[in-house]
Symmetry: C2
Subunit: 238 residues, 2 copies
Amino acid sequence: MQVEIWSDVVCPWCYIGKRRFESALTHFEAETGEKVDLVWRSFQLDPTTPKDAKQSVTEMLSEKYRVSAAEAKAMNDNVTTLAAAEGLDYHLDLARASNTFDAHRLIHYAAEHGKQDEMQERIMQAYFTEGRHVGEIDTLVELAVEIGLNADNLRRVLEGDVYSANVRADIQRAAAIGVRGVPFFVFAEKYGVSGAQRMDVFLQALEQTWNEIRVQQPTLISATSADADGCTDDSCAV
Amino acid sequence: MQVEIWSDVVCPWCYIGKRRFESALTHFEAETGEKVDLVWRSFQLDPTTPKDAKQSVTEMLSEKYRVSAAEAKAMNDNVTTLAAAEGLDYHLDLARASNTFDAHRLIHYAAEHGKQDEMQERIMQAYFTEGRHVGEIDTLVELAVEIGLNADNLRRVLEGDVYSANVRADIQRAAAIGVRGVPFFVFAEKYGVSGAQRMDVFLQALEQTWNEIRVQQPTLISATSADADGCTDDSCAV
């Protein structure tokens, strides 16, 4: 069963939602023996953030919502407390405003190497906990190498335009299917859950989807299917 | 977009179907920018084959279909010619009757390490081209190491019972959704294609599914979704 998650690597609720979803996933997979196929989808909360942004997130929030530095800090403290409840160590005072387009390209690259979830996790940790600038190519290369990706091609990939089409395709599909905020979870291309819901909401969504799809007969779309070459349990048309 | 393929590693039409599907996939991904999420599902053509089977496939076919060795060879020659048209080098005269349960467990293990497709391919090549006994744990460990999996835990995994539940879950789901022969392709848990169809049939299935799902609004299944914590393009409730 496939689950797609639209998120941005700088979205504080996305990281919290990731942990809550992961708890549900652990329960679900142990219960059913099914390995869920997790796909991270790109979304940009603010595509206008410059690639060479130098602001802290606190400064950025103050400007954006026209609040004082103290008020921005209070907003951060609230989400930090909720993150801690999920075992996450947010240091939003250190966080650096970052354009996330290249980070999403890197996550698509990592997917080709079977490390999409690890890359997503590493970038989020770098941004929320370590105060790293995840809009900078140098930082992204370091993080990728840390999870075991080969550095040789990586800089060339990131300095070029590779995977831009994949990032844009995700963003366009989000718009097409009505995603207005992240995190947004799509189960088996059929059901949606919006936001960092409680663990039991995710578990229920996984179970409901699974109960339906595991017995759902796919519609045969090839007219010639019945005649196609194949093997059955007790005969193989070799 | 997800595509699931039920197949057995000793099914001659499955390997041919894999190549035809891969041609379609290359076209589709280049055309759309979408990276298809490919999942190999377990299926056993003959679960009664002993784990320590010593027969050649020619002997096994002769017994099973009560044909002479010459007739069994003619059956093999036919599929070998069709395989060659897809660039596959079948040597069914060398092929060894194998119980495939452990091979499927290994493919599930490889999936956890982002190498499911490589493992599936390596095992099929070993069986169809190299005359390797893919029912034997020693052979499976060798093949896994060749594609870069760590040998340390592997033997323990294969000698134990790990991933058996996953293999059985795939087989049970195949039965539940009406798969009677392999290869069987399921597109986005919605459409099915049975058999080693021509490349253009697969391409059409990919395109049709994609055209539908990329604009299909998932049904929101959480009553509280609208209130959930999340970030939107121009506000983030931190």
